[in-house]
Amino acid sequence: MSTPETEVMQQPATPAGPMIRTLMGIAMLSGFLVVLTYQLTKPIIEENQRRAIEAAVFQVIPDAVARKDFVVNETGVVAVTAENPAEGIPIYAGYDQEGQLKGIAAKAAAQGYADIIYLLYGYEPECQCIRGIKVLKLAETPGLGDKIITDANFVANFDALDASLNDAGSDLANDIVTVKHGTKQNPWEIDAISGATISAKAVGKALNLSAKALLPKLAPQVEKLKEDPPRQPPEQVEEQVN
């Protein structure tokens, strides 16, 4: 630096040039570092995210080994690819080894005790029922509200929870409701957890809202989901070849 640093009381006035040069230099260095990291980590992060979604989808759709992403909107069911990111309610179709459609996973959410509970549920078109749920995000009281994940009796509600449509296909035949623990009588009722009523009710409400909004639109389009089953993931293709 050319400025003599003799004046202590008065700050030496730095000309604008060095300031701009420094800031630009720093900004370029930062940009370079961030882009470098982004490029290095991008494939790993995408792989992680794919695995996380797949693990969730395969958990709620029994027997599924491959998945394909769709959205449901006014035009019907549209496949989502990297080139064609369509807008609408996202759903994931799960297929088994032979490429048969096994079920459809969709997201649901409702206000729980502490915060909104986010769920992924698997719907099976053949039995018109919900075959499994997975909690994506939960802030309920540990030990109480998180029984919706751990309580075996509660989870058993979703072995085959009825979500059939009415004759007109415009709405659910019966609303999905959470009932008091021990009083479940119909296949569309969810047996609540004693002591965690609010969280259990939130699950029922979330499923009901989502199913009401999604299934009437989805039902006429199910055939379309069966049309073009996805290719097997590479490692499984190899297994079949061997």
Partner: protein
């Protein structure tokens, strides 16, 4: 501190952050992650390491550039440098484990607002040689990580009956749910502060007594 003419790196350069000026227990800096993400030991450790990395990298870089950064734009420069490394950590954690990333949530990005890091940049890295700044940042980072671990371990052991996810007391243990909740963070932090203050006062008292005896 700024008037220190001694330029050599001593044990004190490193240990300052560990004990005497511990960022959490003595300076009470960076309370936001301290209270928010210490509900398990693994979260606390990850947060501590991430912060340490940002502290080290930004400290070294700022110290390296300290003569070429004009005074008027230094804060802006520091923030850009810190934000860069925070972004790098953010991507790195996403790549290492999505679960961990979800558990830490917004607090990774919020490292940028951790006043301890900017404070170190302003008070130390901009006035000392890179190696010395690096050593000091290492001590500060270690002190921060240690403090987070102190909270995380207590909260996880009491609140979940496990340590680093390993079950300690068997299935019949009754977890103290409050410890994982935000209130537990405040209670445990308060208890640790109490302990540190008590130790400090006891040490001072002992030193006084020792001085009185030798006289």
């Amino acid at each position: 501190m700024s008037k220190r003419s001694n330029d050599s790196i001593t044990w004190g350069t490193f240990s300052e952050g560990l004990w005497r000026d511990n960022p959490v227990f003595v300076m009470l800096l960076g309370m936001c992650p301290v209270l928010a993400v210490t509900n398990s030991a693994i979260n606390a450790l990850a947060m501590g390491l991430a912060t340490t990395f940002v502290l080290l990298a930004s400290g070294a870089l700022i110290s390296l550039l300290r003569h070429s950064i004009p005074k008027q734009v230094r804060i802006a420069t520091y923030i850009v440098i810190i934000a860069t490394f925070v972004t790098i950590v953010d991507y790195a954690i996403q790549a290492i484990s999505l679960d961990l990333y979800n558990a830490l949530g917004a607090f990774i990005q919020l490292i940028v607002a951790n006043c301890m890091i900017l404070g170190r940049a302003e008070a130390y890295a901009s006035r000392n040689r890179p190696l010395k700044s690096f050593t000091n940042a290492l001590g500060m980072g270690a002190g921060f990580t240690l403090a987070l671990l102190c909270l995380g371990v207590v909260r996880e052991v009491l609140g979940a009956g496990s340590l680093f996810g390993i079950d300690l007391f068997g299935p019949r243990f009754e977890p103290w749910v409050v410890m994982i909740l935000p209130a537990g963070g405040f209670i445990v932090l308060g208890a640790w502060l109490l302990l540190f203050e008590w130790l400090k006062q006891r040490k001072e008292r002992l030193e006084l007594e020792a001085a009185a005896e030798t006289r």
